[in-house]
């Protein structure tokens, strides 16, 4: 990825040099280990701050909503789909964005690494990716894990490693991961449960929800100027962090982003209470695919799913 990183820095500098963009949203080094941070640069001289590695988890399209000026943005596949959804929704104008697409090599899920290594992330010295092997170095020595145990669930079944819409595409095509079954394991495990058990599972999970709305804030599809959860006349859902209301909030939010959710999984990663939110959103995108034969963010020229009616969509 170092090569692609160098190309990105070169290209970013060139874009500023040619006065094509006013600012660029990308990834930069974070102050903590094994993470990157969203970074906005406004000059070609800062292109050297841009970073590409296996921890570029943020969906940067979220920063382009209601942003002015001429933006440059670094997007992986799932992020790119989110941006296309925003273009379909007319939240972002295609002509105002210069998209630097990254052919995503799939990303490391820090929580999985912590669980497997039995260590917290700040106790881990280094996480090295070497083809299909991930080496985790801690105080006690090195542990090696196969890639599929350590990558994000979403990455395991990725169908869009490169964004569907871009001005430039960097990074060589990586070996495609199409283990849909593995990617859907948490979702399928839940589907195997009987409904009362499933209900109890979500009751337990949502008892921890503190209604911080990190899930909403990090989601590019959650672009409403006034979120339903803040409406008091009428009050659709109680702001109290009781499990019933928490569940209602999340299920409603999931339905609201139907047709626009690109399964980037940021909601789950951002949740401080570690609620498996992707299990809900992935179930929803699966239903959308099934019912409407539609994958969000695949093409910017399609109308938004929920605003268009096709006569083939009969009842049942």
């Amino acid at each position: 990825m170092k090569e692609t990183e160098a190309k990105l820095r070169e290209h970013a500098k060139a874009l500023f040099g040619q006065n094509k963009i006013d600012y660029l949203v990308g990834f930069g080094a974070a102050s903590l280990r094994h993470t990157t941070s969203p970074l906005i640069i406004t000059a070609g001289d800062d292109a050297g701050l841009l970073v590409l590695d296996r921890f570029i988890v943020n969906n940067l399209s979220v920063y382009l909503r209601r942003a002015g000026g001429r933006a440059g943005v670094v997007l992986k596949g799932c992020d790119g789909r989110s941006l296309v959804s925003l273009i379909q929704d007319k939240q972002v104008k295609r002509e105002n964005v210069t998209i630097i697409g990254i052919h995503c090599p799939s990303l490391v899920d820090l929580r999985k690494v912590e669980r497997l290594a039995g260590r917290d992330r700040d106790e881990i010295k280094e996480i090295r990716v070497d083809g299909e092997k991930i080496t985790v170095s801690c105080g006690g020595g090195d542990k090696i894990f196969p890639a599929e145990q350590v990558l994000f669930d979403k990455c395991l079944g990725c169908e869009f490693p490169a964004p569907p819409e871009y001005d430039t595409l960097l990074g060589g095509p990586a070996a495609a991961r199409r283990d849909k079954a593995l990617s859907l394991e948490p979702v399928n495990k839940l589907r195997e449960l009987a409904l009362p058990e499933r209900w109890r599972f979500w009751q337990q999970e949502f008892s921890r929800c503190i209604r911080c709305y990190a899930c909403r804030q990090v989601c590019p599809a959650c672009a409403c100027q006034r979120c339903f959860v803040e409406e008091t006349e009428p009050r659709w859902v109680s702001p109290l962090p009781r499990w019933e209301d928490n569940l209602l909030f999340q299920v409603t939010r999931t339905i609201h982003v139907a047709g626009r959710c690109a399964d980037c999984g940021e909601c789950e990663r951002a949740c401080p209470a570690r609620i498996p939110l992707r299990s809900l959103s992935r179930q929803m995108t699966g239903l959308v695919e099934e019912m409407f034969d539609y994958q969000s963010g695949a093409s910017k020229d399609l109308p938004p799913l929920m605003t268009a009616y096709r006569s083939e969509e009969g009842e049942g």
Partner: protein
């Protein structure tokens, strides 16, 4: 001041002794780390650093009954409903969280004394535990505290 020293292995017995008279809370073992009512048997989680859900959760319930009222032919009646604050002990409190809670205490004493918060707070003993492995994101020392 009375200072006692005990072996780590005796901690469970000490907690059990306290549990006879107090509701004892400990960092939880599985799932998302928080302070939970001790079940009487589980030890401190092996690599305990700090809980994910902070200490103040025990003192700031999202909803509580503040009063009850009734209406009948003779008029209205209002009875305050204080929390049934059971004498409690929280073990494993980190210095940062303890300090943070003391700031929250100030808020509930400002202007008037909030009986709902204070009845819980005043019936709870906080047993602190110094940190031997602060997170790399910790910053207690930047605020004049120590681990």
């Amino acid at each position: 001041m009375n200072l006692r020293q005990l072996d780590k292995t005796d901690l469970i017995d000490v907690l059990a002794g306290w549990a006879k008279r107090l509701a004892v809370y400990l960092p939880s073992a599985g799932g998302v780390s928080r302070l939970e009512r001790w079940d009487g048997t589980s030890a401190l989680p092996e690599r305990y650093r700090n809980t994910a859900v902070p200490l103040k959760e025990l003192f700031l319930p999202p909803a509580e009954t503040m009063f009850r009222f009734h209406k009948d032919r003779s008029g209205f009646g209002l009875e305050p409903a204080l929390p049934e604050a059971k004498a409690s002990l929280v073990f494993g409190v980190r210095p940062c969280d303890a300090r943070a809670l003391s700031l929250v205490d100030k808020l509930f004493r400002d202007s008037y004394e909030d009986v709902y918060y204070l009845s819980r707070r005043q019936t709870t003993l906080l047993a602190g535990l110094a940190c031997d492995k602060p997170y790399d994101s910790c910053f207690c020392t930047s605020l004049g505290l120590e681990p």
